[in-house]
């Protein structure tokens, strides 16, 4: 394998990884919900945390470090819906990207 081939391999690897990063940044920014004026990034940890409280009324810090009063189940439902919606779309787009082998297919 000569150096030109190695360079091309590196370039392809860079482009492929950047494509994934581009998808990640757009999807991450949409994994957010608003509840009672608070903004929450939907994560697996948040969903697990809310499960622990069920129907309880709790105070939870939002992304801006404001304590927001929430009914755990209500916020949980919102988070799960959003998570499912965005992850489904993420999967579809990721699948589409894996079929891109050359620049002309982009």
């Amino acid at each position: 394998m000569n150096t030109e081939n190695l360079r091309n391999s590196a370039r392809v690897a860079f482009d492929r990884e950047l494509l994934k990063q581009n998808l990640k940044v757009t999807m991450d920014s949409r994994l957010v919900v608003n509840y009672e004026g608070g903004v929450f990034t939907v994560t697996r940890e948040l969903i697990s945390f809310l499960h622990a409280y069920e129907n309880d009324k709790i105070y939870i810090l939002d992304d801006y470090n404001i304590p927001i009063c929430a009914i755990a189940n209500e916020l949980l439902k919102l988070c799960k819906q959003r998570y499912q919606e965005i992850m489904n779309e993420w999967h579809i787009q990721y699948d589409e990207q894996t079929r891109i082998r050359t620049a002309k297919n982009i």
Partner: protein, 269 residues
């Protein structure tokens, strides 16, 4: 709703009090049709965020379904991009938008900021008094960064996207922004940036630094990096919410899809 708020003779025609809305500033130059750009941006705000839009302009004769806020054209803030000729730029209205906005909660975007998602909605519906872009995503490296203003310790905020309530804090930030704008040369010398052209990003960065307790308060929009597609990037195509672009000297080609994009490279728009 279709009304005209005419700041030149202070008549209010047909505007009702609306809670949430978007302002886009647009003053045409000989080189760029900012108004056409703003209308395209406004169409996307309506489609994805479903809020009313008002265009801040000096063009009384503009025919558009969007509300117009007519103001006097600001002074020419000539800029000279690298390796290009000088161009006209009328961007010095942003510090007045607090008073000009007819909305209780306002989203301000640049006319070259094209929304393709509902990602801003949760922030628009939040109860934060003032929010402004802080993180930036570089589509040539895949990195999210927070920049400083040159070698100063000041965090750089981007006036590309601003959300504010009609509140004391927001009013103070806009008042501070006006003060910085009026003393731009002083602040440019203090923080080591060029005195011309005058940049709203620097104005608001300094204003937020001051009003936020000398930098202790963070006004950045969380988890919403601004995707800046600047002069490092050549746009090959942009359709069906997919931007295909060259970067790194055209040896690389890539794409970004279904994203809110700041398409700064006017040569390709």
């Amino acid at each position: 709703m279709n009304g005209i708020f005419n700041m030149m003779n202070k008549q209010e025609l047909g505007l009702q009090k609306i809670f949430k809305g978007c302002l886009i500033v647009a003053f045409n130059t000989n080189e760029v049709n900012y108004i056409q750009q703003a209308i395209i941006a406004a169409d996307r705000v309506t489609k994805y965020l479903k809020i009313p839009v008002s265009i801040v302009t000096d063009d009384i004769l503009l025919e558009t379904s969007y509300d117009k806020i007519i103001v006097k054209k600001p002074k020419n803030n000539i800029r000279v991009p690298r390796n290009k000729k000088a161009s006209n730029w009328f961007n010095l209205v942003r510090t007045q938008l607090y008073e000009l906005s007819p909305y209780e909660r306002t989203l301000i975007i640049d006319s070259d900021f094209f929304i393709s998602t509902d990602a801003l909605l949760p922030h628009l519906e939040s109860n934060r008094d003032f929010l402004i872009s802080k993180e930036v995503y570089d589509i040539t490296s895949g990195q999210v960064k927070v920049e400083k203003i040159y070698s100063s310790p000041l965090i750089m905020y981007w006036a590309t996207v601003i959300i504010f309530n009609k509140s004391k804090e927001s009013e103070n930030i806009f008042q501070a922004a006006k003060m910085v704008e009026n003393n731009y040369d002083f602040y440019a010398n203090l923080y080591g940036f060029s005195t011309r052209p005058i940049r709203n990003d620097f104005i608001f960065s300094i204003a937020c630094h001051l009003i936020g307790g000398y930098g202790i308060k963070d006004y950045g929009i969380k988890n919403y990096p601004l995707i800046n597609c600047d002069s490092k990037v050549s746009y090959l195509s942009w359709e069906n919410e997919k931007l295909i672009y060259n970067y790194n000297g055209e040896s690389h080609i890539n794409r970004i899809k279904n994203a809110d994009l700041h398409l700064m490279n006017k040569d390709f728009l």
